[in-house]
Symmetry: C2
Subunit: 267 residues, 2 copies
DNA sequence: CGGAACATTGAGAGGGATCAATGGACGTGG
DNA sequence: CCACGTCCATTGATCCCTCTCAATGTTCCG
């Protein structure tokens, strides 16, 4: 219930190792257009409001000021940076991390195609987290002033913006529940199931997935050490719930994972 | 830095035990007006946008459809309830809790006068958490449709709504950092400092505070058992950092608390 | 005054962190 | 194409922080 409510996020590839993430339109095709319109984008159902007429959609197309490419390991933005735009992820995969004054940091989320990133910056006009690409990533940058301007005119867009922000709040609540209440195996099971769920929403089977992040990053997100993450993966594999090969995970028994999340030992 | 960035929230009373929370206007005065205008409210600087002209403020007054009183222990809303309004807390104190399918629950926040509650419901049109009053509480109910309607016309209000939601996201990030990275004493120290900070913003000294929640609720919020909360309070008291008398806390050495949050043992 | 709810404190156990060493995978450069 | 170095993952051993179970004390309210 809450588990599917959107804890986390994850990237992956359908079956083959190197296959790219985009469900349909290939990157090469995109290159032909200097600017791909939202109305044309195959991710629009994930990141744009539904129920707009053609005229409204044309206005929304004007939201995207530019497309950015972020190389793996590079930052889309960093804590402290001035905020002026939200970013829709077109392809690729990012993590967001917050840091305390003394340097310890925590992964607060993994973000994949179709999601909106940068909401944290609105409050103070400055970002409060780092957004780091975990693989080469392409984002559509939407100046926030322009978003607000158009949202004042198009009801559906306005409401959509509110829904996205509220959804992020709900997601965070789920992570809090996870960090505050669950034990290691429950956290990791919930993590994998969320993964599966989100991949399914993007047209993948979800039983085969490729982790884009290290064990350390998973551990940071889940409030565990990297060793515990690794050990728990191994335990799941021993019990026949999953198959682990480095970052390739095959989910064999998602029902059992659900039982683990629910505190129910085994079946 | 992140510590003051708004982890949590807390109510209290300035010095005397039974004193009410409202900084100035007493409840009795309010009763004379069927409806207290936002433009008149002494909390407006906390919950309303600044920089509006008189005409705009009059429109915003129309946001509040009614005032609700929630008795201690009662729910303002519950997970699953249909969402249709946000609530501004006028006086009192609430907690929000989320529950997983199998019944374990977690406090996700404590909310005091001047804060907006109910943002979680926008995403799915249904609330995802319970909001329970920890003392008799008065809220101003603002139908969300009306908020959106007026926000489309008044830029300052629109932006304010966005800031409030973003602020909630930033707060949640801080809680994640706390739950994922800190140890018991660090969590509790951060909790107390956040308390102090928020009280200060409301005109209280903040060195004397009265907890409105039980040890168990603190523990749930911080991901600790109630015994650990109690023990840590005692340890802080032994070390001369605070004085504890049931729910009355006196902060004697907030600098030392800051050191604890920063992982620095003692000084 | 008695009971319920809450807080404190102690003893013991366990889950996960930490420290440490080994092994694979990948990329770079010879 | 192979060698090497780096990064990452796995696995083991040990320790300790926090949970759990339990008993007692305190406050508040009917």
């Amino acid at each position: 219930m809450l588990a599917k409510a959107t804890f986390f996020t994850l990237s992956q590839a359908p079956g083959t190792v190197k296959s790219q993430f985009l469900p349909a339109t290939g990157a090469k095709v995109d290159k032909q257009f200097i600017k791909v319109a939202c109305s044309n984008c195959n991710l629009r159902e994930l990141c744009m409001p539904i129920g707009m007429d053609a005229g409204e959609f044309t206005r929304v197309d004007g939201l995207v000021s530019k497309r950015l490419t972020v190389k793996r390991g590079a930052a889309l933005f960093r804590a402290g940076d001035a905020f002026n735009a939200l970013h829709a992820i077109r392809s690729g995969f990012l993590k967001t991390t917050v840091s305390s004054a003394n340097g310890q940091s925590q992964v607060t989320g993994f973000h994949m195609a179709g999601e909106i990133i940068g909401l944290d910056g609105i409050a103070s006009e400055h970002h409060t987290c780092d957004a780091i690409a975990l693989e080469d990533t392409e984002v559509c940058t939407m100046p926030f002033e322009r978003i607000e301007e158009i949202a004042r005119e198009i009801k559906a867009l306005q409401h959509h913006v509110h829904k996205i922000m509220s959804g992020e709040i709900v997601r965070d609540q789920g992570v809090m529940l996870l960090l505050g209440n669950m034990r290691a195996d429950e956290r990791l099971a919930a993590f994998l199931l969320n993964l599966q769920h989100r991949l399914h929403a993007r047209g993948f089977s979800g039983s085969d997935l490729i982790l884009r992040m290290t064990r350390e990053e998973i551990g940071s997100y889940l409030g565990l050490s990297l060793e515990t993450v690794s050990r728990t993966f191994s335990k799941f594999a021993e019990d026949g719930l999953i198959t682990v090969n480095q970052r390739q995970i095959h989910i064999q028994n998602s029902e059992a994972l659900k039982c683990i999340v629910s505190h129910e030992l085994y079946h």
